[in-house]
């Protein structure tokens, strides 16, 4: 077990370096100049070529790509992730002031995805091809097919504008003290949208996994023993069907992070997703790179976690 863990952790290092280099190179070769994000257009137009050159020099934009990457990498290894070109704050402070909001949104969404997705999948598998199954799998297909921003806009229209019972966006009421109730009220719509979008694949995987297991010999044996249906499903069915679900849930994490970007923009959620969009638009290298690394670490960790859970849940994996 420990050996697997160490090996996987060591494998993660080159992955991170390769990801960071590709990210850095892509950001650098993308057309445009980060300087334009910092300077007012009017000021930019009237600057002489010498002034522009000096401004680029001051921001370290003049060196060759490998040199800049090396500076960035050594900086990161010393714990210095650089400064945002746009705001002048450190990349870390830009991100940390928004990470909390994203974590709240992700936690609430995962909870909704799991609490809705898995029970619905079980329900659908329990009554295959009946009306409830068709309704649930149909709903899941719709949630997978319709982009989250459309669902988001519909929800805003319904709950915030027509009914006026939930806020249209933001994390808190400006000026009012932050309360748990207020936060929950604000997170309700975005988390539901993101949660349901991620519940949909869970419904389908839980259903098909469980159906497969329920058709197997040992389930028939259990039924033949006269075990109650609930026992069959939860003790024999779900435990075995949960193996692929662990992988699916780990694979959902990148989806969730990606979905969070769109959801945050639609709901004016002050998290890292909005920061990603604005720093991508302004080509802010330090902030973008920090986020790329954080997402890469999250995905690698999620995969690692899935592997470990898999080993814990299935003794057969340990043997092989």
């Amino acid at each position: 077990m420990l050996k697997i863990l160490v090996r996987r952790l060591l494998q993660a290092v080159p992955s991170l370096i390769i990801i960071s280099f590709i990210g850095f190179a892509l950001l650098s070769i993308a057309p445009g100049d980060p300087l334009t994000a910092r300077l007012d257009r009017d000021a930019l137009v009237h600057m002489s070529p010498e002034q522009l050159q000096a401004a680029r020099q001051a921001l370290g934009l003049n060196d060759a790509l490998p040199v800049r990457y090396w500076h960035w990498l050594t900086g990161v290894l010393h714990g210095d992730l650089g400064y945002s070109i746009v705001t002048g704050q450190t990349a870390m402070s830009e991100i940390s002031s928004r990470a909390g909001a994203t974590l709240i949104l992700l936690a609430a969404s995962v909870m909704i995805a799991v609490c809705v997705g898995i029970p619905c999948g079980i329900l659908a598998a329990r009554y295959p091809n009946e009306r409830i199954d068709r309704l649930l799998t149909g709903g899941a297909v719709v949630m997978i097919s319709v982009p989250t921003f459309i669902v988001g806009l519909l929800m805003i229209y319904l709950f915030a504008i027509r009914m006026g019972i939930l806020p249209a966006g933001g994390l808190s009421e400006p000026g009012a003290p932050t309360t748990l109730a207020g936060t929950l009220r604000h997170v309700a719509l975005p988390a539901t949208v993101l949660g349901l979008a991620n519940a949909a694949p869970l419904v389908r995987f839980a259903r098909s996994g469980l159906l497969e297991v329920l058709a197997s010999d040992y389930v028939r044996t259990a039924r033949a023993k006269g075990l109650r249906e609930r026992g069959v499903i939860f003790r024999h069915g779900l435990r075995n069907a949960s193996l692929p679900l662990i992988t699916i849930m780990a694979m959902l994490i990148p989806d969730l992070v990606g979905g969070a970007v769109i959801t945050e923009v639609v709901f004016a959620w002050p998290g890292m997703g909005r920061l990603v969009v604005s720093s991508a638009q302004s080509g802010d290298p330090a902030v973008m790179m920090t986020i790329i690394i954080m997402v890469a670490v999250t995905v690698i960790t999620a995969n690692l976690l899935a592997d470990i859970l898999y080993v814990v849940a299935d003794p057969r994996v340990r043997v092989s």
């Binding site: 993308a30 057309p31 445009g32 100049d33 300087l35 334009t36 910092r38 300077l39 007012d40 257009r41 009017d42 000021a43 930019l44 137009v45 009237h46 002489s48 070529p49 000096a54 401004a55 705001t87 002048g88 704050q89 928004r98 909870m111 799991v114 609490c115 898995i118 029970p119 806009l153 805003i156 915030a160 504008i161 006026g164 019972i165 806020p167 249209a168 966006g169 933001g170 994390l171 009421e173 400006p174 000026g175 009012a176 309360t179 109730a181 207020g182 929950l184 009220r185 309700a188 779900l238 435990r239 923009v265 639609v266 004016a268 002050p270 909005r274 920061l275 604005s278 638009q281 080509g283």
Partner: protein
């Protein structure tokens, strides 16, 4: 597994119930609060930069500076009439070179310190000392005599004389009658000497005195800034023109689509500078007035006059004649724009309006020896206002007079870089531009033509006669003389057509009927100059 999932269900249930019950609690709390305090939520599309100092007088940081700080003078909503602010009276020499100000003696900084002429002198000195720190709209202080010397050595600014704690005199290095109204721009707000005297261009954007808790003499104190959410301002009860009437102003930082959504849901009271496309969404919202304002900006095609195909001004005039601007305004823009034939501010009525005339356009092209094989590259920011609707029609209309146009949509920083970077001039011929503040005064256009020998900017058009006329216009305080001079400049621009001006947008400013006394200025961000007079019913 089973235990886990039941636990989650229970948690989810708590979450949902608490979310539902909390809604009523929140409502009550807000209601009770509303009795004592008035709060105005306001926004404008676009980013803010969290440096609350005139070095960053750009985008939406610009209007916020008016809440925190004061200027020497302000403007009325005609953008022409100068009104007192920190300066109670002023005198300009007839040659527009020396300006003397008498200052208010009851103004205090928001930390209680008394405001004096030394603060004004410090503001001017600091700006002259660190000119490159200013990345927003330009400030006027570098026009003062001795500014170059100060930038090099840090010496006192020669053209500034503090006559007494309540009076100060400026001498400019060159005459400029625009100096006085320009003092009302947010890039020229007065900052506190005792707070910022130790800061340099390296530190100014990092200290809490500019990022978290700026100190001004303005009507509102910045009490909280939450990234990507809002900036909260609280009334400054000791404001020298009397305590402002609204207790809190909340500037919301919202993605574009949320602006209309929150106006619809009532979570936002005022939004500045929206497009006509939001009207169908907002027209039916109760208690919301849609105030129209003609912007001081413009929409037009910059022509690269140093491109071989565009050097002849008859080709540029032909492009003007070949575009049916009025039809585009009536159909695509639903009437929400006014046609232009020169920069706003210089679009005098007796000039050539370049009304749609394809026959004339073809004649001009023929005279100029236009070759039918030439294709012009039109570059634009892909999300520029109306670009995707307007430009294909323009492409078609120009095609009909024999000018082939290739449309090239770009991401914003690539476009910005391409059309401003001197080394990328070969990559474009026409550039769809929008915005600016040319309409403020006739002299606003002078910056585009300030040199006839230096490096070429944007259109690359240079004309020493034009440059001289703008210098003359600034050189006297005699209004009749100035008008005549600017008219001459306007004639040249109208004739040479380095920019094919399309129109001046009419913007929508939704204002809740609860809000009283809010006047929308043509340069919408200037409306904040008089935030102390706003009130709520």
């Amino acid at each position: 597994m089973r235990r886990f999932s039941w636990l989650s269900v229970a948690l989810a249930a708590t979450l949902i119930t608490s979310a539902c019950t909390s809604s009523s609690n929140d409502g009550q709390a807000a209601g009770e609060k509303g009795k004592t305090d008035t709060t105005l939520s306001v926004t404008r599309v676009g980013p803010i930069f969290p440096v609350f100092h005139p070095v960053r007088a750009t985008d939406n940081t610009y209007p916020l500076l008016y809440l925190i700080y004061s200027n020497l003078v302000h403007l009325k909503s005609d953008e022409k009439t100068i009104t007192p602010d920190l300066a109670t009276s002023w005198k300009a020499s007839p040659d527009a070179t020396t300006f003397t100000f008498t200052l208010a003696d009851n103004a205090k900084w928001q930390d209680g310190t008394k405001f004096t002429a030394d603060d004004v002198a410090f503001t001017a000195w600091w700006a002259a000392r660190y000119p490159t720190a200013y990345t927003g709209l330009p400030n006027v202080w570098s026009q003062i005599k001795g500014a170059d010397e100060t930038a090099k050595t840090g010496a006192d600014l020669a053209g500034v004389k503090v006559l007494s704690p309540t009076s100060i005199e400026f001498t400019l290095s060159a005459p400029n009658a625009e100096f006085l109204p320009s003092l009302a721009n947010a890039s020229n707000v007065i900052v506190a000497k005792h707070v910022l005297k130790d800061e340099t261009d390296k530190t100014i954007e990092k200290v809490t005195a500019t990022t978290q808790s700026p100190i001004g003499t303005g009507p509102y104190k910045l009490t909280k800034y939450v990234p990507d959410q809002y900036v909260e301002f609280t009334a400054n009860k000791d404001y020298f023109e009397g305590a402002p009437k609204i207790d809190h102003i909340i500037w919301k930082i919202l993605p574009d689509d949320q602006v209309t959504t929150q106006l619809q849901s009532g979570a936002l009271d005022v939004a500045f500078g929206l497009g006509e496309d939001t009207r169908p969404l907002l027209a039916s919202v109760k208690n919301l007035d849609l105030v129209e304002s003609t912007s001081v900006g413009m929409v037009g095609l910059y022509t690269r006059t140093d491109a071989p195909a565009l050097t002849d001004n008859r080709v540029r005039q032909a492009i003007y004649y070949g575009i049916d601007r009025q039809k585009l305004i009536d159909t695509v823009l639903k009437g929400a724009a006014k046609p232009l034939w020169n920069p706003p501010g210089l679009s005098y009525d007796d000039l050539n309006h370049y009304a749609f005339d394809p026959a004339k356009a073809r004649t001009l092209l023929k005279e100029a020896g236009w070759s039918a094989g030439t294709t012009l590259k039109l570059v634009y920011w892909k999300d520029a206002p109306n670009a995707t609707e307007v430009l294909p029609i323009i492409q078609q209309q120009l095609g009909e007079i024999g000018v082939k146009v290739q449309l090239n949509p770009l991401e914003v920083d690539n476009w910005d870089d391409m059309v401003t970077n001197p080394s990328r001039r070969g990559e474009w011929d026409l550039d769809y531009e929008f915005g600016g503040s040319f309409g403020l005064t006739p002299d606003q256009s002078s910056r585009s033509y300030s040199t006839c020998t230096g490096p070429k900017i944007q259109t690359g058009y240079q004309n020493c006669k034009l440059t001289d006329l703008f210098v003359q216009g600034r050189g006297t305080t005699d209004q009749a003389k100035r008008d005549a001079t600017y008219h001459k400049a306007a004639e040249i621009l109208n004739q040479d057509a380095d920019v094919v001006y399309l129109w001046q947008p009419v913007l929508l400013n939704p204002v809740s009927t609860k809000v009283k006394g809010l006047e929308i200025y043509p340069f919408d961000r200037h409306s904040f100059m008089r935030a102390n007079e706003w009130s709520m019913s």
